[in-house]
């Protein structure tokens, strides 16, 4: 049985918080570079070039890509044969977030209570989802989620009769209604199936998949491509100033559901879709 000390987890989370916020992941950089080449609208191209320049500055000078350094979201795979020692796992993750957001000069954006709204001043607590999996490793997936785009996310309980056409029209409607507000070009995570809450978590999880990496099921992969095409026909464009580049990517995750239901959740993310994974233990 592998033992993992919480100090190691704290250090790793601290590092991830800073790195994810200053270093736009390679999949997003490549998607932006590709978009510059294919975008025919000159205003749109110049915005995309500014976004790439912004990412260069952030990376070279180690300052956040975007001032919204997000709410810290984690998906953690806990190997059932690994043992966390020295303290609690959730506490360790929150301690890492606290240290990372302080040391990295990242913005503290979390309020203690949704109605009272007092800033916690350390960007905790994080939102953490745990999966118990076989093996001895602890795999931590991290994404700082900005709220300009999070606010544009929607969920709908479709009737089964609405089928794939209903799914498509809902996803496109979410992007149309969001318009310029979520900092397009957006990245979409779509969760289909499960229960209401499961669909939302699947949508969030889909955002962790690198842009352009298609779903293993060719049927779902085709749907991802079709949705991307439909969305890029909306002429919202970068910053909503018009153009072909409204979305950089669409990722879908599915789960079995009830005979009566077809839940669909759309988690909207901006062009600063940050994600990092680290593996501890064996």
């Amino acid at each position: 049985m592998t033992e993992i000390h919480v100090d190691q987890i704290i250090d790793e989370v601290r590092r991830m918080c800073i790195e994810a916020n200053v270093n736009l992941p390679p999949d997003v950089c490549r998607a932006l570079e590709k978009a510059v080449e294919s975008e025919g609208n000159p205003t749109a191209s110049s915005v995309l070039e500014l976004l790439l320049e912004n990412a260069d500055i952030a990376r070279n000078e180690c300052i956040p890509i975007c001032q919204d350094t997000g709410m810290a979201v984690f998906f953690v795979e806990v190997g059932q044969d690994c043992r966390i020692v020295g303290g609690g796992l959730t506490d360790a993750i929150n301690e890492g977030v606290m240290q990372g957001y302080q040391a990295g000069y990242l913005r503290k954006s979390i309020v203690s209570d949704p109605l009272e709204r007092l800033n916690t001043n350390d960007n905790t607590p994080a939102v953490i989802y745990y999966d118990i999996v076989p093996g001895e490793a602890l795999v931590i997936h991290f994404s700082p989620k900005g709220f300009g785009s999070e606010n544009m996310s929607q969920l709908k309980m479709l009737a089964p009769a609405e089928g794939v056409e209903g799914v498509k029209s809902f996803v496109v409607q979410v992007v149309r209604e969001a318009g310029p507000n979520p900092c397009p070009p957006v990245v979409l995570g779509v969760g289909i199936g499960g229960t209401m809450d499961k669909a939302a978590v699947l949508a969030k999880k889909a955002l962790f998949r690198p842009i352009g990496k298609r779903h293993p099921d060719p049927r779902i992969a085709r749907l991802e491509e079709e949705l991307l095409e439909l969305i890029n026909d909306l002429d919202i464009g970068p910053q909503g100033f018009g153009g072909r580049t409204t979305a950089l990517g669409v990722s879908i995750e599915t789960f079995p559901t009830h005979i009566a239901g077809l839940p669909v959740a759309v988690n909207v993310s901006c062009h600063v879709t940050r994600h990092l994974t680290t593996r501890l233990g064996r």
Binding site: V22, T43, E53, R59, I63, I65, C66, Y105, L106, G148
Partner: protein, 213 residues
């Protein structure tokens, strides 16, 4: 070069990105600075009439003084106005930037400081516009009520590039806390900016860049 611990681990992973970045030579912002159709505007303006020639879609470089304020600061300012009290900043001809910056790392005047989404300030903005506000800087759509107040009181709405906070921070030459320090990033700060790039999103006649179709 990286200036703190964050990038020690990423050097290898990002070598390719660094190489591609080098070939771009950071020319895109310079292209905006030097483009023929860009307008220079000193803020605050001395008279609202200076805003009338601005047309939707025009690129503008702002220099002078602007104030950051977002959700919580707007709430407090409008509460003060409703109570008949003074607000902590001069509103006449002034420009408010919807932004909550990152803390300034050593050697910088401010951290990343891009615009936040403007619609959340829509319920508060008309009260400030009525008090003589010259303009707002943010991103995204505005409500009908805000646009009507803008037209009535000759106010302009600029969009800055959302998600480009690192780049925009280079155009801030000084930053100073003015009020509501307890709000952290949501406090009101006075920013001195030089050639801060924006685009006219809604002009003083109410034309909007977001309504093309």
């Amino acid at each position: 070069m990286p200036n703190h611990e964050a990038c020690q681990g990423c050097a290898k992973e990002c070598a390719a990105a660094h190489r591609r970045a080098a070939t771009r030579q950071s020319a895109s912002l310079r292209a905006v600075d030097n483009s023929d159709d860009v307008v220079h505007l000193r803020v605050p303006v001395t008279a609202k009439s200076e805003l009338i020639p601005l047309e939707v879609g025009q690129r503008v470089l702002l220099s002078g003084t602007i104030y950051t304020a977002r959700d919580a600061a707007h709430r407090r300012m409008v509460e003060s106005i409703l109570a008949g009290e003074e607000v902590p900043i001069p509103l006449e001809n002034a420009f408010i930037y919807y932004a909550g910056p990152c803390p300034a790392p050593p050697g910088r005047v401010i951290g990343s400081v891009g615009p936040t989404t403007s619609y959340r300030m829509d319920s508060y903005a008309p009260a400030l516009i009525e008090k003589g506000l010259g303009g707002m800087i943010g991103k995204g759509t505005r409500s009908k009520r805000v646009i009507e107040a803008m037209v009535k009181h000759c106010c302009v709405y600029f969009a800055a590039v959302g998600g480009a906070g690192a780049l925009l921070s280079r155009r801030v030459v000084n930053a100073e806390l003015v009020a509501y320090g307890d709000l952290g990033t949501e406090a009101i700060r006075r920013l001195e900016v030089k050639d801060f790039p924006v685009i006219v999103a809604i002009d003083t006649r109410g034309n909007s860049i977001y309504e093309r179709r």
